[in-house]
């Protein structure tokens, strides 16, 4: 079964007014269960909009969207997915553990069960010693790990991430990428991942969806075939470089007038 089924989705903001923006037109994309898919493209190509549509934070103008075999809205109400943003979005008045417990609170879990799950998630992101710290006592990378732990707390089958490592330095970023992969491998989670970085997209993904702006659309879907388990050695792998080249070529095709603006080519 596919985790996300996107059929002829379009999204326009300020529909019908003079400053109407066609954020997305006629998007078709099918994401298989357990797959890791990245959305990449220059600023304004609608990749974050697409992610928010899947999350049902906004409604499409037209088209059909199925998440986990149900409507996107039902999937949101059932908390079928977890979400993480570029800003960790931790609640500064809650401790690390209480932050992770928040989605469980809203699901109506009792206290003991919540605490048990929070500890389990903290172990997963290797922050068990920081359960009772406040977010501001943690480094940026640690905060982002807490945010990921929180997104995974309900054990969702789908993880939606909007440039979650965008604000991190390169070293932390690569480390976090490897951690994310091993977490997803262990849990079989499907991931839709928005990024600006070509190497990040290639390293993480089974498929990289290349998008272009005005109006936002999918120009190409690049299959990344890297043999075996991905780890730091993968970054020196010929297949990895081949993937990077393929994505870069696809992005070059994207409107030369302001090509690859907003793309970090590193």
């Amino acid at each position: 079964m596919s985790a996300v089924e996107i059929t002829n989705i379009s999204k326009a903001f300020n529909l019908g007014s003079s400053n109407q923006v066609d954020a997305l037109t006629d998007i078709n994309l099918s994401i298989a269960s357990g797959e890791f898919v990245s959305l990449i493209g220059p600023s304004g190509c609608g990749k974050s909009t697409l992610l928010r549509l899947i999350a049902n934070l906004i409604e499409p103008t037209s088209g059909n969207l199925v998440v986990n075999g149900k409507s996107a809205k039902q999937a949101r109400l059932d908390q079928d997915y977890g979400m993480a943003f570029q800003q960790s979005g931790l609640f500064e008045w809650r401790t690390v553990a209480k932050n992770i417990e928040l989605p469980l609170e809203l699901k109506g879990w009792d206290k003991a069960k919540r605490q048990e799950r929070a500890l389990e998630m903290l172990e997963l992101v290797k922050l068990s010693d920081f359960a009772n710290h406040y977010p501001w006592q943690l480094s940026g990378g640690m905060q982002q790990r807490v945010a990921i732990a929180r997104a995974l707390a309900v054990h969702p089958s789908l993880l939606l991430m909007d440039e979650p490592f965008g604000a991190l330095d390169e070293m932390t970023r690569e480390h976090m990428q490897s951690e994310l992969l091993s977490i997803c491998r262990a849990s079989g989670t499907t991931v839709v991942f928005v990024t600006h970085s070509i190497p990040e997209a290639v390293y993480l993904s089974n498929r990289v969806v290349v998008m272009s702006p005005r109006p936002g659309r999918v120009t190409e879907i690049v299959d990344v075939s890297i043999e075996g388990e991905r780890n730091d050695a993968t970054r020196d792998n010929a297949a990895f470089f081949k993937g990077i080249t393929a994505v870069r070529e696809a992005l070059r095709g994207v409107e030369m007038s302001d090509h690859v603006r907003g793309i970090e080519d590193r």
Partner: protein, 263 residues
Amino acid sequence: MSSRSSSVVRSVLPPAFFGVAFVAVWELVVKGFNLKPYFLAPPSKIWQKFTENFDLVWGAAKVSGANALIGLLLGAIFGMAMSFVLSRFKFLNNLITPLAIALNAIPIFVLVAVLNNMFAITSEVPRRVMVTLVVYFIVLVNVAKGLTQVSPTHVELMKSYAASDTEILRKVRIPNAVPYLFTALKISAPASVITAFVSEYFGGSQNGLGSRITSNIANSKNAVAWAYVLGACLLGLTFYVISSLLEGVATPGGRAKRTREGR
């Protein structure tokens, strides 16, 4: 804890030293230049009058303090209630904010004179209403800001958790507004004391610190007036310290949070 106590010493010692030095210079100037007591009283004399008249100062402080406290509490309650209403109904915000600004532009103490006419001459109500009004606006503006200016990421997250508006209010907006409330209270606490004093200048019972200061100056009892001023300072300071301590108790992570918020 030793690093913490040393930081307390570092933050307390300089102002304490400055305060002592200031009083010493004051004393020396008055004595050295042989200033007349009606011009400026020396601190030693003020202290003497303060201890001599302590019961009177204390009694007056209780009257002004009670007015300030009652006004502060009522203003805070009304301000908070109104900020909830405003943040819930955006159109009311557009309706009331200009009105609030206009009302705030009135030299507010003239209202005391008006209020005095409405109540019995010995009534403390006009003064309390005055304090309530001043505190009300400070609390309203700040808490409304805290309730509405929440991080968009937090709101999106809550929506992704299928949270209702009530849950967003309880788990995001209210906790977000708590530091704003205490900022408002820290501004309001001394302001309420000052308002209570100044309100006494517009007639009514001559029982509070403000009216005692004016009547003693009128009688050329300068040092005694200064003793009441000292009482007024201590009362304002007490209000500030209490609101400051409450903030530390009510906001987890407390002060350190604010200084690190930039990250």
